[in-house]
Subunit: 338 residues, 4 copies
Amino acid sequence: MEKYSFKNDYSEGAHPAILQKLVETNLTQTIGYGEDEFCDEARELIKKQLKKEAEIHFVSGGTQANLIVISSILKPYESVIAAETGHIAVHETGAIEATGHKINTIATSDGKISAIQIEKVLKLHTDEHMVKPKMVYISNSTEVGSVYTKAELKSIYNFCQENNLILFVDGARLGSALTSSKCDLTLEDMANLCDVFYIGGTKNGALIGEAIVFNKLDLNENFRFHIKQKGGMLAKGRLIGIQFSELFRNDLFFEMGKHANKMAEKLAKNISNKGFEFLTEPSSNQIFPIFPNELIAKLQHHFEFFVWEKIDEEKSAIRLVTSWATSEEKVEYFIQSI
Amino acid sequence: MEKYSFKNDYSEGAHPAILQKLVETNLTQTIGYGEDEFCDEARELIKKQLKKEAEIHFVSGGTQANLIVISSILKPYESVIAAETGHIAVHETGAIEATGHKINTIATSDGKISAIQIEKVLKLHTDEHMVKPKMVYISNSTEVGSVYTKAELKSIYNFCQENNLILFVDGARLGSALTSSKCDLTLEDMANLCDVFYIGGTKNGALIGEAIVFNKLDLNENFRFHIKQKGGMLAKGRLIGIQFSELFRNDLFFEMGKHANKMAEKLAKNISNKGFEFLTEPSSNQIFPIFPNELIAKLQHHFEFFVWEKIDEEKSAIRLVTSWATSEEKVEYFIQSI
Amino acid sequence: MEKYSFKNDYSEGAHPAILQKLVETNLTQTIGYGEDEFCDEARELIKKQLKKEAEIHFVSGGTQANLIVISSILKPYESVIAAETGHIAVHETGAIEATGHKINTIATSDGKISAIQIEKVLKLHTDEHMVKPKMVYISNSTEVGSVYTKAELKSIYNFCQENNLILFVDGARLGSALTSSKCDLTLEDMANLCDVFYIGGTKNGALIGEAIVFNKLDLNENFRFHIKQKGGMLAKGRLIGIQFSELFRNDLFFEMGKHANKMAEKLAKNISNKGFEFLTEPSSNQIFPIFPNELIAKLQHHFEFFVWEKIDEEKSAIRLVTSWATSEEKVEYFIQSI
Amino acid sequence: MEKYSFKNDYSEGAHPAILQKLVETNLTQTIGYGEDEFCDEARELIKKQLKKEAEIHFVSGGTQANLIVISSILKPYESVIAAETGHIAVHETGAIEATGHKINTIATSDGKISAIQIEKVLKLHTDEHMVKPKMVYISNSTEVGSVYTKAELKSIYNFCQENNLILFVDGARLGSALTSSKCDLTLEDMANLCDVFYIGGTKNGALIGEAIVFNKLDLNENFRFHIKQKGGMLAKGRLIGIQFSELFRNDLFFEMGKHANKMAEKLAKNISNKGFEFLTEPSSNQIFPIFPNELIAKLQHHFEFFVWEKIDEEKSAIRLVTSWATSEEKVEYFIQSI
């Protein structure tokens, strides 16, 4: 590809430190299926940051994490509540329904939902002729780049606990969320403000891999059966263990998130300075500037990105995504090209 | 681990040439989800060996390949026929049933099934009160190390074609099968003697990855929807594309299979020379010698392996698995230790 | 129950002519599972009215009909489009999702959807990361009592045919719809303006039973396997065959629909004359008058009905349902009680 | 049909007392979905015989009862153990697998299984790579006419309780089993020797209907959601309630079972006296005499029955089924025809 891509945060391979570790450990023999010492080390390193007991499992991708977690927890007649824009509701080809469960959706302008909205859904579901909502799914950061604050997450989790609902946070882009200037949450907070979440590796510098973290330990019962049954248990589980060890041995995971955010902020600030608006407030490593169609056409000669949504006959919102690998030079080139 | 492991063929990472390629290509930007140029190249390299049109998809593991392929082809009331020892029948935690389909099993002494046995299953299924068998699943090599000959595979495929059955070959260990001295099949034959099969990377030198090959092209329709829905579509699809390019650029895939077989043969020949018998005839990279229990206990001080099956009060069969990474020196050490 | 119930159209048993036929035929021996001569006769009587070839199957209830039809037609990644108020979307406890399929819903004020709305849903679904809409589900009459006209149904069916979508009409209350003064459709029209529909017996004078009618004959392939697998095949299939024979031998089915409508119209006209409004325009055997809360409380001393929806602090809409068995005397008593 | 049928026990309608009750109660208004007073009365009458607290639900058929009960209890990765000849394993078109669960089958000569056989299955299932057996399914009487004694059932239930397995008894033909001279079980015993069972109405004189009985009360939690989701909740639930009230108001259920058994015994005794053997020992209302093929051909001129199994070139086993409606005169005619 000759054009520089801001299409997503999985355009490159992995952070070089991760690759190097794969090379170094390559001939060490381990047992399979995620029970090796590299996975164990990764679990310990993550738990050290959570400062709490937790059960941790590694799977290869986000849709896989979502479908395994959700189907492992819900009974056949139970449903999960999500934003209308939620990844599970739109971009997973019906993966959750394929495991037998309805998603109750909530309309939202910024990708985020609130306790009040969840309560409305609950009130509509009164008897056995309807599904029984049992779980709330949110993404942080969301599919449109917004982030939840600690107060917002607390409010949702309190409501869930009062109403016997499980709270699940999709953290495909948790690295960018937790290092966003708009988000006051830490990884330690994630251990206390939801029942289960996953830490995204694929979109934050790993070749592959997401770490599912059960804060509520009884949800973990026989979870390995679920992973295996859904095709999510890698024979060479070490592949993900080695990577998460590197991500959390020092601060690599957070440093990469910070870099992605810094690049997105630089883009956003300069775009804003040039007088353009945004579809949603820039908050993490996905930003959605609104540009005239001619400018978009011009930019497409040099850059790859998604045209997200038509605004009117003259303008559209585009999506720019930055990552650990985004080159500051290319960011500057993009800014100059506007 | 201080003991040397013959437990399986996924104890180490990947062949060094594969890792090197991952390092070299690391910062090349690509689009996601298996539509990048590395995946395309891998597909072309495989098709060159198949000498035939085919549709090829990459997924991360064997259970995933099996469940996606089978559920994509069968209608809700259709079933798949497999050996009682078939991987899908025993070792996938009900993954096929979880997609809604019954497995009709056939008892077998050597892990292989025949057209006559398949016919008997068909004859038992006569109306809408029973499932309708529509697919035959075999593994090559099988779960107990045996391999199908060309004549055997032809006979099964002819029967399937005459009876409107789809033939699916699980090739988790196809590398060892195709390079076995007991098996006269080539990769080109696989393009002509079944409707769909997969080429196992995980158990033959890749970090991860299986290549699903549709010979019968209409089975491919909208297959990417199935991969995505079941959580099998990697954002960084390149991870598997790069590896399969290396496996099939030259003969690395076959060379690794040959090495594994050579090590297994050396073990088998020497074990046999020392007067021991085998549970099944040594044919590929899994062999099952029968040892006195004291000998097994002694070997366990220095080696890791599975104790497969109790034979009588004094003896048990163990499973020894070799791979591309098996050290000839350790093989010799094992032989001396008997 | 001492209060008279307008709660639903399944409060009583069956039309006496049906019961009498059950008694008369009771000791006739038949084969099971819907292949008996009573079922065959019922099929012929229905086809005579359709004036067209069709394949007809009997099942015991509406949710069962919906889930078997929909899951028999859709591939795993395909979805069904329905009104947000559609029975399958709200009142079947996730039955469709339990067979693995997403429902794409359309917001609607009167329970009806249009080709333009369907087109919008199609346009949102562009690739394999999303489900693929393949079917449109409508109810006639709808869950809020409205009916489709011939022009409306034609417009939807034309759109479906142009876009390779299957049109399925839920006719749980088709008897009331087809005899409504607001609906110019006939049973013969139903044979030409959709791919599959069902004729509701339970809500129109039968003890039990719905007749699924495939106009598009290739959808019928192996359908009996689906019925059996989902638990919908009655051993004594005759129970439904005998009833549908009676419903369609003469015009009993339509006469009962007419009576229900006549009672609903009488209620509606008099309620309207007394100055009350309706949530939706009275069109079939379900009407939704808006009453002051005190009046509702007063009526509840003598009648059973659902309080459907709060309108404001003072008023609510209630649902009144009439049937073949509704007594004109009780209708008059209700009117006097307002 | 001019030939007299011994094909099954659902050839006729219902016992006349049941039809009469349907006629008598026809215009009584009730609420729907099994919450009416007829269903309540039926539950109380059954519980009086069980002499114990229980939760009771009515559904329309046996496959439906099996699939709803089993899928309501098992977690996604759990399986059910059954005889190879079990109805769920063979004659339900994969209904259990369609809800996502594997059936672990046990080979058996007489349709019955034992604790020792169940234990063998458990021992094979050791970790998360395999399903986890959690339920045992047996039928009484079995699909080949045999019955469990009290000692046999106790032994199985003890084993289940010790091993944390749920025991489910399919009672499609429980009426014949409990009144068989070979079976010393009572309905009261059924309340103490399993966790859940169902009482078959369809095959013992009802038009339709099976009563699911939960002895283990916590299995009942939210069970109505499961019934509704699987399409098993009849709007006119009264249809089954009225019938079961009649079945258990006095001893109608048992009297009908006795009559069926008496007719089967008369057939069996006379067939035996004429020197013929049986495939399985005659024990309930299904018997399997072995006849020369010419005799079978001759009998087929006057009677309907299934040819069950070829014994050798000259002989086959046939299945004769009697019911509450079987005419003693026709039984005598059959005996004379041999």
